[in-house]
C-alpha cells in the first residue's frame, strides 16, 4: 500500500504531460526550431516554481512527511561529462522526440512503437555502464 502515493504522483505526471502535448515529437521539434513558446512556457514555469519550492524548503528547513530533513545533494563539479553527456542526450531527444519520462507516458497512451525507443535507451544505458571507465568525466 505504501506505493499507492507513487502511483498517484506518476499518474498526475503522465496525465499532464500527455494533455499538454509535452510528450509529442512535434512539440520537441517545434521547440528546437524556436517556432512556439509552448515548451519554453512549460519548462520556464516548472523551473520558476521549482526554484521557489527548492529555496523555500532550504530557507524553512522543511522536512519530509516522515520527519526527515529534505536535502539536496550537490552534483560533482565537472564540465566534460555534463557537456558531452548533455550533447549526446540532446541529439537523441530531438531524434526520438521523447526523454525518459515521456517514453512511458506514450506507451500508456497506446503508442507501442515507443517500446522500441525504450529498448534503445536501455541499450544506451548498458553501453554507458560498460564504457564508463574509458570515458572522460
Amino acid at each position: 500500500m505504501k506505493y499507492v502515493r507513487y502511483i498517484l504522483i506518476g499518474m498526475l505526471f503522465g496525465i499532464v504531460m500527455y494533455k499538454s502535448q509535452a510528450v509529442s515529437w512535434y512539440r520537441i521539434y517545434e521547440m528546437f526550431r524556436f517556432e512556439a513558446f509552448h515548451m519554453y512556457g512549460i519548462i520556464g514555469t516548472a523551473v520558476t516554481l521549482g526554484l521557489l519550492i527548492t529555496q523555500g524548503i532550504k530557507r524553512f528547513k522543511l522536512k519530509s512527511w516522515k520527519g526527515v530533513p529534505i536535502q539536496f545533494a550537490p552534483k560533482n563539479k565537472s564540465i566534460t561529462r555534463y557537456l558531452f553527456g548533455g550533447i549526446i542526450f540532446g541529439l537523441g531527444w530531438a531524434l526520438a522526440g521523447a526523454c525518459p519520462g515521456p517514453m512511458y507516458v506514450l506507451v500508456g497512451s497506446g503508442e507501442f512503437a515507443v517500446l522500441i525507443v525504450i529498448g534503445g535507451a536501455l541499450l544506451g544505458t548498458l553501453a554507458y555502464g560498460m564504457l564508463r571507465k574509458h570515458l572522460p568525466h
Binding site: Y26, I42, I43, N76, Y82, F84, G86
Partner: protein, 186 residues
C-alpha cells in the same frame, strides 16, 4: 468543464503540475529524476554481471519504477478518457518545414506516423532511427548524470551549475539534430 479538459492543456497548467510533482517527490524524501529507472532496469535484468555500474541495491529504487508505472497509467487515462482530438496545433512555419522533409499532414496525429507508424517500425531505417534515438537518450542521460527532469527541472531549481552545463548540452545536441542532421535523415 468536459470541453475544457478534453482540449490540449496550456503551458502554465503543465509547468505548475510538473513543479508540484517535483515537490511531492521531495516531500516523500525522494527526488524527481526519470532516467535513473533505465539504470535500475538494467540492474534488474542482470546488468550487474556486465559492469559494476549496475551493482547497487536496485530494490531501494523500486519507488521510482512505481512512479513510471503511474506515468504509463496516466498516459492511458489521458489518451482514452480525457482527449477527443489528438491533433497538434503547430506553427505554420513548422508544418512547412516538415512537409519539406516529407512528413504527411504534420500535426494531424499526436506523434508522426513517419517515425512511429507501422511502416516505419517494420523498415530497417525506421528501426535504426527509433533504437538510435533511444540509445543516445539512454547513453547521454547516464553520462550527464540526469535528463530533463533531473537536470533541467530539479537541478536548475537548485541552481546547480552542472545542471546548467547539462541543459546547455541538451540544446547544443537538440539544435544540431533538428537543424543539421534531421534534413539528412529524412
Amino acid at each position: 468543464m468536459i470541453e475544457f479538459i478534453s482540449q490540449p492543456w496550456p503551458w502554465y497548467v503543465s509547468g505548475t503540475v510538473i513543479a508540484l510533482v517535483m515537490f511531492l517527490l521531495l516531500y516523500e524524501g525522494k527526488t524527481f529524476g526519470m532516467s535513473s529507472n533505465l539504470r535500475t532496469m538494467c540492474s534488474m535484468a542482470g546488468g550487474d554481471k556486465l559492469s559494476d555500474f549496475f551493482r547497487f541495491d536496485w530494490k531501494s529504487q523500486r519507488w521510482n519504477l512505481i512512479v513510471v508505472l503511474g506515468a504509463l497509467i496516466g498516459g492511458y487515462i489521458a489518451a482514452n478518457f480525457l482527449t477527443l482530438e489528438t491533433t497538434v496545433d503547430l506553427n505554420p512555419a513548422t508544418i512547412a518545414s516538415l512537409v519539406d522533409l516529407g512528413f504527411e499532414n504534420p500535426g494531424g496525429e499526436y506523434i508522426p506516423g513517419k517515425i512511429f507508424g507501422l511502416e516505419a517500425i517494420t523498415s530497417l531505417k525506421g528501426l535504426l532511427i527509433l533504437i538510435g534515438g533511444g540509445f543516445l537518450v539512454g547513453f547521454g542521460a547516464r553520462y550527464a548524470g540526469g535528463c530533463t527532469s533531473g537536470h533541467a527541472i530539479s537541478g536548475l531549481s537548485d541552481l546547480q551549475v552542472p545542471s546548467l552545463i547539462a541543459v546547455i548540452g541538451f540544446f547544443i545536441g537538440g539544435l544540431a539534430m533538428t537543424h543539421l542532421l534531421l534534413p539528412h535523415i529524412f
